[in-house]
């Protein structure tokens, strides 16, 4: 070896040998490269192809048109209107975003808050991302802007859709409103179907209250999608495909917008609630809560001042008083006491009790609203005069247990199941509840107070309407607001009999008729004169303050002399026509118990209007229904 290497040509031999070694090494490296290529391109080719497609293809969700909400005659109560918007694409502007915003401010109104937001967005986003400068522009502004467009490079007029409530405050509590998806919406999967891709659509609004919320999944429709190719910086290169999605289904309500409007106009300055029902099928014809709020403002976005106004108003416009306001039913509850007593055999319609103006139980005095009393009263007279002493004595004979069972049958003490979230159940007390809550046994005096609808008893205006409907129809009719979703008619169970004897029901109806249609009845001055349309009803007054013993002696202060928040609530339940009842109505005006009984007048006008208009007789404009299976 050493000998060979000394010869000159052995350098060549060494070089050749070593070159072969190096060549072997290079071959090995090429082998590694080929193997790696095989692994990347053949073995995992599909995987990387998917990732390349993920890179370049973006799914842009498209918001479908939200379904409308219409009344029984096809009047749109919630629809969509064109939303005239202005977008700004920073990279297309001449002279920068600031200068363009200045120029734009001369054409359309732009306040400081929006200006600051746009300038901030322009810094954060890529220059080709369009920024929203203005929304819900008026047509004049929008037209003027389009005229000036040649001088505003980078400014894009755009037309989208936004929710529109043409009757605003009138229907704010029935319809609810829509607002952007909030973080908490996504953590309540069963309510909003949080896996729905529509929630990811930028700027999408979902129902937050009322019908908008209850039927949100049907109204919102199915999101469409636009598949676009984007480059590494997110710029859209082209559209690859488009699925327009499915528009949401229309919701057909049983409401009559004309009746709703009539009642709302009468109550809009009060803090009040009213409901009108078809007693045969439970169709709710009007459901009013005042004051209302402008649902459109929620869609656009409330200013802090607007929100502050809404939450500090002592008339509480955000509360749906028709079903979330629970009031002592007062004398309207006497109908329940009467039916319960008749049903239990505690009294007959002709059982007489004397009213001296006071009923003494142990050391407690229970006063009648009429100082000096009514004299001898049977059931008809008791209801006609709303005599407290009569019903104290009926309640004493009946006992609390019988009262509670009858109240439940008449729809009190539990939610009616109306299709609006947030309904309260009201309250009917019993012995066990009293013992469990106060660790004290039920007192007989509390039975007396319960007999005239005071004390622990609470009911919502809607429940009172159901009460009137059940007395009038003799069935367990329940209220409903929605007739059909799209072309699908929503089925409902037929109302069962209420279980009170016809005689008992007739006696109570007679008393209610006497209260409104016989001279001297509590509602007589505000009766419907046309006997064809006559209504039967029961007034009620619910105390919101304690009347002292001294006051009973010196004379109870009139409501007119008290501050608004201390006045009694005014209530009224009624049905019409007397002979062949079809419409039931309840009106509650908070702190409204003043002399001219405004609640009775509103109910009278509503019932008269409903009958003259013949709401239930006119052909509704519901869609041709495909299915009517009862659940």
């Amino acid at each position: 070896m050493a000998l060979i290497e000394k010869k000159p040509k052995s350098r060549h031999a060494t070089f050749t040998r070593r070159s072969l070694v190096v060549s072997g090494g290079m071959t090995a490296v090429f082998g590694v490269l080929a193997g790696r290529l095989y692994q990347l391109q053949i073995e995992n080719g599909d995987l990387y192809l998917n990732r390349a497609e993920d890179n370049r293809i973006n799914q842009r969700l498209l918001a479908p048109m939200r379904g409308r909400i219409v009344d029984r005659f096809g009047v749109a109560l919630a629809s969509n209107r064109r939303n005239y918007r202005v977008l700004l694409v920073p990279e297309q502007t001449r002279g920068g975003v600031v200068q363009t915003m200045d120029a734009l401010a001369k054409v359309i109104p732009i306040n400081e808050r929006i200006r600051a937001k746009v300038l901030k967005d322009a810094l954060v986003n890529k220059p080709f991302v369009p920024l929203i400068v203005a929304e819900n522009l008026g047509w004049d502004d929008f037209a003027r802007l389009n005229l000036d467009l040649p001088y505003l490079p980078g400014v894009l007029p755009d037309v989208g859709d936004t929710r529109d409530y043409p009757y605003t405050e009138e229907f704010s509590h029935v319809l609810g409103y829509v607002a952007p998806v909030a973080a908490e919406d996504k953590s309540a999967p069963q309510e909003v179907a949080s896996d729905d891709p529509i929630l990811e659509v930028p700027g999408v609004r979902i129902g937050k209250r009322g019908i908008e919320k209850t039927y949100d999944t049907a109204i919102r429709g199915r999101a469409g999608a636009s598949r676009v190719e984007v480059n590494a910086y997110g710029r859209v290169i082209r559209e690859l495909g488009r699925d327009e999605g499915t528009p949401g289904r229309d919701v057909y309500l049983t409401i009559d917008r004309e009746l709703q409007n009539l009642i709302f106009e009468r109550l809009k300055n009060e803090s009040a609630a009213a409901a009108v029902m078809d007693i045969e099928n439970g169709d709710v014809l009007a459901l009013v809560s005042t004051p209302g709020f402008d649902a459109n403002a929620f869609n656009v976005g409330l200013t802090p001042e607007q929100w502050n106004d809404l939450t500090t108003d002592d008339h509480k416009p955000l509360i749906n008083k028709a079903l979330s306001g629970a009031y002592p039913p007062g004398s309207t509850f006497k109908t329940v006491t009467a039916l319960a007593a008749l049903d239990q055999g505690a009294i007959t319609p002709e059982t007489m009790f004397n009213c001296s103006g006071i009923v003494r139980l142990g050391t407690h005095d229970f006063h009648c609203w009429r100082k000096g009393g009514h004299g001898a009263m049977n059931l008809r007279l008791g209801l006609k005069n709303s005599c407290d002493c009569y019903f104290y004595q009926v309640a004493m004979k009946l006992g609390i247990d019988g009262l509670q069972a009858a109240a439940h049958r008449l729809g009190l003490g539990q939610p009616t199941g109306i299709e609006i979230p947030g309904e309260r159940g009201g309250f009917i007390p019993d012995r066990f509840w009293k013992q469990a809550t106060f660790k004290e046994p039920w007192q007989q005096g509390e039975t007396l107070v319960a007999g005239i609808g005071q004390g622990y008893i609470l009911a919502t205006p809607l429940q009172l309407c159901v009460l009137a409907a059940r007395i009038a129809s003799g069935t367990q009719v329940s209220p409903r607001l929605v007739h059909s979703l799209g072309t699908q008619k929503l089925g409902r169970p037929a109302a069962e009999g209420i279980g009170f004897s016809a005689a008992a029901l007739a006696a109570v109806r007679q008393g209610m008729n006497a209260a409104t249609n016989e001279p001297g009845g509590t509602g007589y001055p505000w009766r419907i004169n046309d006997s064809k349309f006559a209504m039967a009803g029961k007034t009620g007054t619910a105390q919101v303050r304690v009347i002292t013993r001294e006051e009973h002696i010196t004379g109870v202060r009139t409501n007119e002399s008290l501050p608004w928040s201390l006045r009694d609530h005014a209530l009224f339940i009624a049905y019409a026509p007397v002979d062949k009842p079809r419409y039931a109505c309840a009106v509650v005006i908070e702190h409204g118990a003043i002399a001219p009984h405004p609640q009775v007048q509103v109910a009278r006008d509503a019932l008269l209007f409903a009958q003259q208009r013949d709401i239930v007789g006119r052909p509704p404009s519901y869609p041709v229904t495909s299915a009517s299976a009862a659940p």
């Binding site: 050493a2 290497e5 000394k6 010869k7 000159p8 052995s10 350098r11 060549h12 060494t14 070089f15 050749t16 070593r18 070159s19 070694v21 190096v22 060549s23 290079m26 490296v29 090429f30 590694v32 490269l33 080929a34 790696r36 290529l37 095989y38 990347l40 391109q41 053949i42 995992n44 080719g45 599909d46 995987l47 990387y48 192809l49 990732r51 390349a52 497609e53 890179n55 370049r56 190719e229 984007v230 480059n231 590494a232 910086y233 290169i237």
Partner: protein, 384 residues
């Protein structure tokens, strides 16, 4: 002597004769690879000659002229120029390093009109020339003597350290590995190789374990892989792998690569040009390209083997190894097997200096072939 007349008549050999001696099949192969490069640069620009393909074509044409010109120059002239070229390159390397440090700038090149001259690129050729000349002068077995081994080690280490300080790990590795392989080819004894290997195997982990502080380790790691963050090199490599892998067997087709067209692929016209080929032409296309590269290397080895002089053999092999190391480091990098170092794909990647040095290197290789019968004296010739 049989060679004597040839040597004596060297000056009289006509240019046409030299050109006929050029290995045209290799030249055409190189041109074909360059054409693949033009096509890819055309595609990378979204189907446009601007801004890359057109300039690359012009550069290649200049480079091809340089190749032929270098090939026609006598090998002994190149041997004579070896040390001066090395000295000049080293001087420039030091100069830009000093200028870069003093001026606090990162510029590591010299402006020559429209061309940017990177001394580190020049050094790749100059080091091969200088080492070939030095090793040519050694007798058999002499390279293993410590005193004879020291000069080439210094010749390799000095420029490598300067390039490393730029910092340019890729080129420094090319210089060090290329130089070491030349020593190996020149017959460095296995003892030395084993000893060096053992020393490295023991010293590096030991130093890492016991001598370096944590912050020093971190500095070394950051230095070795400057873009180790996920949004930097991690993203680049991920996108490169997606581009390669998504090509599959046959590729997406010319101009159809979404990764490159939509700019997901970073630095696609320079270091990450291979993934475009992988994406648009698939496994088959990429393998064909690698096959063409392998063929060029095969030619290089052939030329080295058949050269009569040790200088010619070492020069040819040195140029070929440099070309191979370029390909290897770039390919391993874009395939995600080694960290990202800035080494372009020769003949394909867009870039002036790299194209010129590669073509100059092929010129030297060709010169070895043209002058394969020339007997080069052991010590300095009188031609310069």
């Amino acid at each position: 002597m049989s060679v004597r007349p040839y040597y004596a008549s060297q000056g009289a050999v006509p240019l046409s004769h030299k050109l006929s001696e050029v290995k045209w099949s290799l030249a055409i192969l190189i041109a074909l690879i360059a054409c693949v490069g033009f096509a890819v640069l055309y595609s990378a620009a979204g189907g446009s000659l601007e801004p890359w393909a057109q300039r690359q074509i012009i550069r290649f044409m200049i480079g091809f002229f340089i190749l032929l010109a270098v090939a026609c120059v006598d090998l002994r002239v190149w041997m004579g120029l070896a040390y001066p070229a090395y000295a000049c390159s080293l001087l420039l390397l030091v100069a830009v390093e000093v200028a870069g440090r003093v001026g606090l700038g990162a510029q590591r090149w010299i402006e020559l009109g429209p061309l940017q001259l990177q001394p580190s690129e020049l050094m790749k050729i100059a080091l091969v020339l200088a080492l070939s000349r030095y090793l040519h002068g050694l007798g058999p077995g002499e390279v293993s003597r410590p005193l004879k081994l020291l000069p080439p080690l210094i010749m390799i280490a000095v420029p490598a350290v300067f390039v490393l300080m730029q910092p340019n790990l890729g080129t420094a590795t090319l210089l060090a590995v290329g130089g070491a392989l030349l020593l190996f080819l020149a017959g460095l004894s296995w003892h030395w190789i084993a000893a060096t290997g053992a020393t490295i195997a023991i010293a590096v982990p030991t130093a890492w374990q016991f001598l370096l502080h944590d912050y020093q380790k971190q500095r070394v790691l950051t230095f070795l892989n400057p873009d180790s963050d996920a949004l930097g090199a991690g993203w680049n490599i991920t996108q490169a792998k997606i581009a390669l892998g998504s090509g599959g067997l046959l590729g997406k087709g010319f101009l159809m690569g979404t990764q490159s067209r939509l700019n997901f692929l970073p630095e696609k016209e320079t270091d990450f040009v291979l993934p475009i080929i992988g994406e648009e032409f698939g496994f088959i296309g990429t393998m064909v390209l690698l096959g063409m590269f392998a063929a060029v290397i095969w030619y290089g080895i052939q030329i080295a083997m058949t050269a009569r002089s040790q200088f010619g053999r070492l020069l040819a092999m040195g140029v070929t190894l440099n070309f191979f190391l370029y390909i290897m480091i770039n390919a391993l990098m874009v395939m995600g097997l080694i960290p990202v170092v800035g080494i372009p794909m020769p003949l394909i990647s867009y870039g002036g200096t790299a194209m010129m040095t590669v073509m100059f290197g092929f010129g030297l290789l060709m010169s070895v072939h043209v002058h394969r019968h020339v007997n080069v004296p052991r010590h300095s010739s009188g031609m310069i």
